[in-house]
């Protein structure tokens, strides 16, 4: 079974301020974008990051072949339970999602 990383150019994650994280899936081609958009289900993505599906925001940006997800950080940046100050390693969870 392929994982997302096998299909797309790259996946990045970054804080969008201390309270939000945003994850960009750069598909690279219209074909990959066309395959990824229906394959990435919002409920599965929300479960992966431990957030309620209702707080997940999604942007399918055809011009850039990008699928973008934004959500509240699982833990506020830098608070005692935070494990990743910049939130960048969260991208790996999505990269390794079976498609």
């Amino acid at each position: 079974m392929p994982v997302l990383r096998d299909i797309v150019r790259k996946v990045t994650a970054k804080n969008a301020g201390p309270f939000q994280v945003t994850i960009d899936v750069f598909c690279g081609t219209p074909e990959a974008f066309g395959r990824v958009v229906p394959a990435l289900r919002n409920d599965a993505v929300a479960a992966l990051f431990g957030v309620e599906p209702g707080v997940l925001r999604r942007f399918d940006i055809a011009d850039l072949h990008v699928v973008k997800f934004s959500m509240p950080r699982p833990v506020v940046q830098g608070s005692r339970g935070d494990r990743d100050m910049h939130g960048a390693q969260l991208a790996t969870l999505l990269e390794e999602l079976v498609i």
Binding site: P18, F19, F59, I61, S79
Partner: protein, 457 residues
């Protein structure tokens, strides 16, 4: 009219190509603008007011920018000075500027724009219904506000314009939005508002909107209908793709960007390649709204001590989580019993490096590593207490067995002493906006003349 801003890099202290800067200076501009910080590296800078970047590096880069400014005779603007943009961080940057002015023999007018907020002033506005939460937002009240180490408000274009109006050669601004320092001058000169904010967002990280992010310098020109962006390093190129993709970066919404007094909407923006390395953008819209500024605050969350032990023996590697759970439970009992602390007065956490230290409960992969690092983080209300708990934890981190009927193991401590005092730890405690009747009512400017004939105005 057109207005050109030169952006040397995404932040002072990160480095830029001197050749690219020289090229930008040769082409000319109406102002040089650079960011001095962000919340990116966590709440510590805002909590302490200290720069995360080296003073020597910042001074060397600022010297290059002060020389560029002097050659062009245009304003030089830094926003969010000293990483956090607290008043003390602004003064830190001012001291560097004054030293350089004397060393370079430059007589310059320096205007400081302060963004620091007193807890009382914010509490008064909270009581008046002028402070509103964003989502998600921590709970606040007057007492919580008073407990914050620092509170800053993010200045927008209006406050930077007020600093420009003082006739400043150099503006050292406290916390500002990343975009305001770039958008302020073209907005003041009547360029297209949507273009001003959009171009500012594209240029705010320097060459990150180009094919060579590390090259630093970007030149952005605003006019009555749009903006044009060009990297100054010859090997770098801006393409419609690199420019439009930058709206994704650190933005939870790639089409809208909220600023004091309204928001930018780029839904209808069109990106057009002028040539192989320059892009023109039109169609961005500025949507005016109520005037409010975002607040940031950091509050002390305790003091930390850390220990690191490395487990290499296969049985301990395989059972690292059980070992860590037992260790945390054992240490909790010892701290309560021997130090007399209530559970609410301390916390002990062990993160298993090699297992799930980065992702915790979200981790989806399981594998058998050769070794596991056990990072023990101890938090208490004073450093002495956190250190004392660390000393109590030390022999357990070194020797605790999985079961009682086996020889005591000895794990690897990578250095001596095994424990490290981490000092104060802070947490972000505000995600709110504050409504203002006039942009300058929560900000202050101070004008100084510095240089060989220094005198304070």
């Amino acid at each position: 009219m057109t207005t050109t801003i030169l952006v040397p890099s995404g932040v002072l202290g990160l480095g830029f190509s001197q050749a690219a800067l020289d090229r930008g200076v040769a082409q000319g501009c109406d102002a040089i603008a650079i960011d001095g910080g962000s919340t990116d590296s966590g709440p510590h800078s805002l909590g302490t007011g200290l720069s995360k970047y080296s003073r020597a590096v910042c001074k060397a880069e600022w010297r290059a920018l002060m020389l560029a400014r002097a050659r062009l005779g245009v304003p030089l603007i830094i926003g969010t000075a000293g990483t956090s943009g607290t008043d003390s961080a602004v003064d830190w940057m001012y001291d560097i500027t004054a030293e350089l002015a004397a060393e370079l023999g430059q007589q310059v007018r320096v205007t400081r724009l302060y963004s620091g907020q007193s807890a009382e002033a914010v509490a008064d506005r909270l009581a008046a219904g002028r402070v509103s939460p964003l989502s998600p937002a921590p709970e606040i009240d007057a007492e919580r506000l008073r407990a914050m180490a620092h509170i800053v408000a993010l200045a927008g274009a209006e406050q930077v314009q007020a600093a420009l109006e003082t006739g400043a050669d150099i503006i050292i601004a406290g916390r500002t939005t990343d975009t305001a320092i770039i958008a302020a001058l073209p907005l003041a000169r009547g360029e297209h508002p949507g273009a001003c904010w959009h171009g500012a967002k594209i240029a705010e990280c320097g060459a990150l909107c180009s094919t060579h992010p590390g090259s630093g310098v970007i030149r952005v020109t605003f006019d009555q209908t749009g903006f044009e962006v060009e990297p100054m390093a010859p090997e770098a190129a801006c393409t419609p793709h690199t420019v439009s993709a930058h709206m994704l970066y650190e933005n939870s919404d790639p089409f809208r960007l909220f600023e004091p007094g309204g928001h930018l909407d780029v839904t209808r923006a069109r990106y057009h390649a002028l040539d192989a390395r320059r892009v023109r953008v039109e169609g961005s819209e500025w949507v005016p709204g109520p005037y409010s500024v975002k607040l940031e605050g950091a509050r002390l969350a305790g003091y930390q001590t850390m220990l690191l032990a490395i487990l290499r023996e296969a049985r301990y590697v395989a059972n690292a989580q059980s070992w860590a759970d037992k260790l945390v439970a054992t240490l909790g009992e010892r701290v309560s019993g021997q130090l007399g602390l209530a559970p609410a007065d301390f916390s002990i956490e062990i993160r298993l490096i090699g297992v799930n230290a980065a992702l915790g409960a979200l981790e989806t992969r399981a594998s058998q590593p050769a070794e596991v690092g056990a990072l023990c983080l101890i938090t208490a209300q004073t450093q002495d207490l956190a250190d004392e708990i660390g000393r109590l934890a030390n022999p357990y981190m070194l020797h605790m067995p999985l079961t009682e009927d086996e020889p005591l193991p000895t794990f690897a401590f990578p250095y001596s002493p095994a424990q490290t005092s981490r000092g104060a730890v802070f947490e972000f405690a505000l995600n709110h906006v504050m409504a203002l009747d006039s942009p300058m009512e929560a900000f202050r400017v101070q004008i100084s003349e510095v240089g060989p004939d220094a005198r304070v105005a």
